[in-house]
Assembly symmetry: D2
Homo-oligomer: 301 residues x 4
C-alpha cells in the first residue's frame, strides 16, 4: 500500500490533535481514525469520521418505541431485538465516512450500492497515478467450471506467468501512452477526459464514501459473503473489523442474524418440520429444484 | 416549550461530559449540542450529533477534483464555487442529527423530504402526551383571498376567540376520550394503535431526524421560504441559525446563491437583455403569462 | 367505499377506451385498471398504470447476466433464482402507479417507505371531505396484554358502544368546527392550512403512489405480515391480489421465499442441526433468549 | 452502431406486435419503442418502455392541489407552473426504461445519478464483445488551456494520428490478451471476473436504465449542458429528442426554465437592479469575484 507523502503528513498531523467534544465518542473507533488499513497491493481503507455508537442506536429506538422498549433490559438485548426484527431505522442513526483507494473494476461493483455519498477522484480534472492492481499468485484464479461467476483453483506454471506478464505489460504500456497523449511538450496534448479511456480497469482510483450503518451492513452482507468477488471481499473484510470496534453489539448481532444466518423458504421450512418428525426427505419429495436442494443441504451442513 | 424532567436531566448530564476526539470538531456547533431551541408553543429542535465542518466539504471536493482545486485560493472561495455550480456531493459529506418535537400536521409536510433518516415516537407502542399546538393570536391567519394556499391578515375579535375555543376544546375533549378509551380500569381498553385515531393533527409528536448538509439545505430552501407554511418555517428558521454556526462559509454561500437568489427562465433572461438595451418591456410583449410576469417583476423588485 | 360521481365518470370513460401499444402488456392487469378495489369503510385502491410484466424481469436479468442465464430453462425458474438470491435490480424494472384513499393514521405509516413517488391531496390548498374511518365491530380490538403493539380480542358491549360513540361524535364535531372555522359567510375565514389541524387522524386522505416492484414487495412483506396493524394490512392484502395478477411468477416466488419464509440466525441454524442429529435442544441449552426461542419454536411450529 | 442480429430480430418482432391497453398511451413515443438511436461509433439508446404522458403529470398534480389547480386553464399552463415552482412530484409520476450501449468511462459518469434502476451487463458472468469507442477526428480534442476540465480545439496532423493509433492498438492488444487469458483451450483459463481488468475504459458495455421524468430531466440538465463531456452529451441529446416526443409540454417548459434559464445569486440580482436604474456596474463594484463576474456577463451576454 502506498500513501503519498502528503497523505502521510496529513495523517500524522490529524492523529496528533485530539480536541474535546460533547458528542458521542466510540473509543474503539478513535484508534482507527485516519490510519490507513492496507488492502490489496496498493489500496487502503481509512476512517475519516464517524457519528454515533451502540448507545446511539438504542437512544433512537427508544424515541420510537418509548416505554415499549423499557422491557428490554439492556442495550445489547435491544440491539439484537432490532436486528432480528429488521428494524432498520435505528441503525441508520450511525454514519461513517471512509477514504478508500481501490481498483476501478472494484469501484464499479461498489458504486451499485446507491444509498451512500461519494466523492471520487476525477480523471477529467486530474491525472491518475501509475498504480495498477496485479493479483498475487494465490489470487490468480481460474474460471470455475461449475459456476458462471465463480473461481476455481489458482493458475499455475506457464499459464500464470503469461497472465501476469500480460497484465503488467499492458498496464505499463497503456500508462506510457496515456502520459504521452496528454503531454504538452511540443504538442497540444489530448484532453484528460479523453486520454483516460486508454487506461485498463485495474488502475487505482480513490474516493470518500459516506454511508449509514444500516446500508453499510447491507453492503457487508453482500460483499463480505463467500460468493462476492475476492477483490471487493478484502475491502469488506477490512471494514468488518472496523465496524466490530465501532459498534460491537450491533456487529455481533449482524454476525449472528445476517452473516451466519440464512433465509429459508416456506418449502424449506416445511422440509425441516418433516425431517424433525422423522420423515425421510429427499430432493425428489422436497418440492425444491436441484439447485435449491443443494443450497438447502449446504445450509443444514 | 416543555422538556420532560427526564429529558432535561439527560441534557444536563450530556452537556457536562466533554471527551477527546480526533474527528473534525466544529466549535460553533458544540455549544448547540443537546440544548433545546424552543419552537412554537411546545416544540423544540435539539442538535444530537453532527459530522464534519466547512473544511470537510473542501477536503472531499479536493479528493474529487485533485489538483484542479488548487487554483481556488481558499476554503471560502472553493465553497462558493461548489455552491454556484451545483456540486452537491461535497456538501453531502457533512451530516446532522436533530431531535425535533413538532405538531403532527407539520410532521406530515416534513416527512415528504425522503432523503433523511427518521425515528418517530410510535403511538402504536406508547401513549402520546396531552400537548397540542394552539396558534398565538398573531399566527391565527385568515385564508388568503388571492391565493389558494396563502394566508391573509390575523383573525380578530369574536371570530378569533371562537376559533381558539374550538381548537382548545376539541383537543381537550379528544384527549379525554383517548385516555378513557385506552384505560384498563374496569374495562378491556382499546388498542393504542386504534385509540390514537381520535387525536387531532395539532397534537405534538417527536422524532430523531438525520440528514446530510446538501439535503438539509434543500429542505431549508423550501421550508424557510416566505411561501412555506408559518408553522414549519419557524422550525426551518431555527435550523438555519444552527447551520450558520456549524458551517459558516457554506451557510453564507447558501444565503447568497439559494435563499436570496432566483432562477430565471430563458424568456426572462431575454427580457432583461432587452431592458438593459433600453427597450420598454411589458407583460404584453414579454412572452410571459400574467402570473410569470408578476413573479418576474417581484424578483427585479 | 365511496367514489365521487366525478371519479366514477372518469373510470367509466377510461375503461371504455383501449388503445394499441407496442409496450409489454400484462393481461391480468388490464382488468384492474382504474377499477376501485374497496378497502375499509370509505377507502380504495385503484391501479392507474403499470410498466412491465414477468417477462420484463427476465429480460433485464438477461442483460445483466448474459449467457450466464441461458442455463436456467425458463422464466419461472429464473425468477425463482433471482428472488432466492436477493437479486433486486431485475424486479426494479417493473413499476406500478396506484390511487389510494386511506385514513391519515394509515398514511403516516405508509409514507415511511421512502423509495416511492407520492402526490397527496393537499389540505393547504383544498378542503377535505367529511369521511372518517370508524372500525367495524370485529376490528374494535383491545390492547394486547402481552405485547405493547399488539391487539387482543374485540371490545364488547357497553365498552364497544362507548368507543364507537366517541369516535363518531368527536369526528363529526371536529368536522363541523372545521367547516365553521373556514367559512367565509360573514367572517374572514381561518386559513385552510390552519383549520385542518382540528381534524382527527381517522379522516380520509388520498394520494397517487408509484413504486417499483422490488420496493413494493418489500412493503408488502412488512405490511401484509400478521404483525402489521390491521388497517394497513387490508390495503397490503388488496395490493397482493393485484400483484398476483400482474406478475404471477414473481408473486409466487415472493410467497414462497418471503411471506412464507423465515430468516434464521447462526444460532438457530445450529440448533436445527443439533435437533436433526437427535439432540434434545431446549431454550436453556440453545444459546437463545426466551424471546428468540419463542419465535424459533413458532417458526418450526 | 451495431445491434447484434439477435437484438435486431427482437426489435423486429416486438415492433410488429401492437396490443390493446387501457393505460395512457403517448403517441409520439410509440414510434420510438425498441428502435435503436445510434450514438457514437457503436453505441445506442433504445426505448424499452414508458409510463405516463403530459396528462398524467397534470392528473397527479390535480390530486395534490385539488380545486386549487382548477384556476389554471389548461394542461400546458399547469405544467409550466409546476416546472417554474419546482414542484417535482408530479413529474415523478412518469417513468421511462431505456436500453443503452455506451463506453465504460461514460457509464462511470452516468451511474453517479443514483435515483434510477440499473441492470448492467456483467463481465463477471459473461464475455464482453470486442467493441471500443474510438473518437471521430473532430472529437479528438486537446486539453483546454484555460479550464482544468475543458477541451480545446481538435488535435491535428501527426499528433492526432498518433493518438488514434495508440487508442486502437492498445484496445486491440488488450482484447487479444483478454481472449487468450480466458481461453480454456489447453489451459485452465483465467476467471472472467479477473480477466476483464485488462480492458480499457473505452470498451462498450450496456444496461437497462429506468428513471422517472423528474430525475431524468435533472440528468439531462447536467449532461446535455455545454460543460458536460461530449461523449455523454451525445447520449443526453438523443434522450432529449425522445422526451420532446414523449411529453411535449413538459419538455418545452424544461427548455425554457432549466436548459435556457439561469440561477442568479442575491448579489447578481442586485447588480441587475442597479444596472436597470442606469448605474455603471463593473466587476470591481459588483461584489463578485472575477470568476463569478465572468459567468454573470456570460448570462447577460
Amino acid at each position: 500500500m502506498t500513501l503519498s507523502p502528503e497523505q502521510q503528513a496529513e495523517i500524522d498531523e490529524l492523529r496528533g490533535a485530539a480536541q474535546p467534544t460533547l458528542r458521542a465518542v466510540a473509543p474503539g473507533m478513535e484508534k482507527h481514525l485516519y490510519s490507513a488499513i492496507p488492502v490489496l497491493d496498493h489500496g487502503f481503507v481509512r476512517v475519516i469520521d464517524y457519528m454515533g455508537d451502540d448507545a446511539a442506536i438504542c437512544q433512537a429506538a427508544r424515541v420510537s418505541y418509548g416505554k415499549g422498549t423499557k422491557s428490554v433490559q439492556n442495550d445489547e438485548g435491544l440491539i439484537r431485538y432490532l436486528m432480528r426484527h429488521w428494524h432498520s431505522t435505528p441503525f441508520e442513526m450511525c454514519e461513517i465516512k471512509l477514504h478508500v483507494k481501490l481498483p476501478v473494476f472494484v469501484a464499479r461493483q461498489w458504486i451499485r450500492h446507491r444509498t451512500a455519498n461519494v466523492n471520487e477522484y476525477s480523471a477529467r480534472y486530474s491525472i491518475l497515478d501509475r498504480e495498477f492492481y496485479i493479483p498475487a499468485p494465490e489470487a490468480l484464479a481460474a474460471q470455475s467450471v461449475v459456476n458462471n461467476q465463480g473461481r476455481g483453483a489458482a493458475l499455475e506454471g506457464e499459464e500464470a506467468e503469461r497472465v501476469l506478464r500480460y497484465l503488467r505489460d499492458d498496464a505499463m504500456r497503456a500508462y506510457d501512452h496515456y502520459e504521452e497523449m496528454i503531454s504538452q511538450d511540443g504538442q497540444q496534448g489530448l484532453a484528460r477526459e479523453l486520454a483516460r479511456m486508454n487506461l485498463p480497469a485495474n488502475i487505482y482510483t480513490q474516493w470518500y464514501w459516506k454511508v449509514d450503518l444500516h446500508n453499510l451492513l447491507h453492503f457487508l452482507r453482500l460483499r463480505a459473503d463467500t460468493h462476492a468477488q475476492y477483490e471487493i471481499r478484502v475491502y469488506a473484510d477490512a471494514i468488518c473489523n472496523v465496524v466490530a470496534d465501532w459498534v460491537p453489539f450491533a456487529y455481533k448481532a449482524f454476525e449472528d442474524y445476517r452473516m451466519g444466518g440464512a433465509t429459508l423458504s416456506a418449502t424449506a421450512l416445511d422440509c425441516i418440520r418433516r425431517m424433525l418428525k422423522g420423515e425421510e426427505v429427499t430432493q425428489e419429495n422436497s418440492g425444491m429444484s436441484k439447485g435449491e436442494w443443494r443450497e438447502f443441504v449446504g445450509v443444514l451442513g
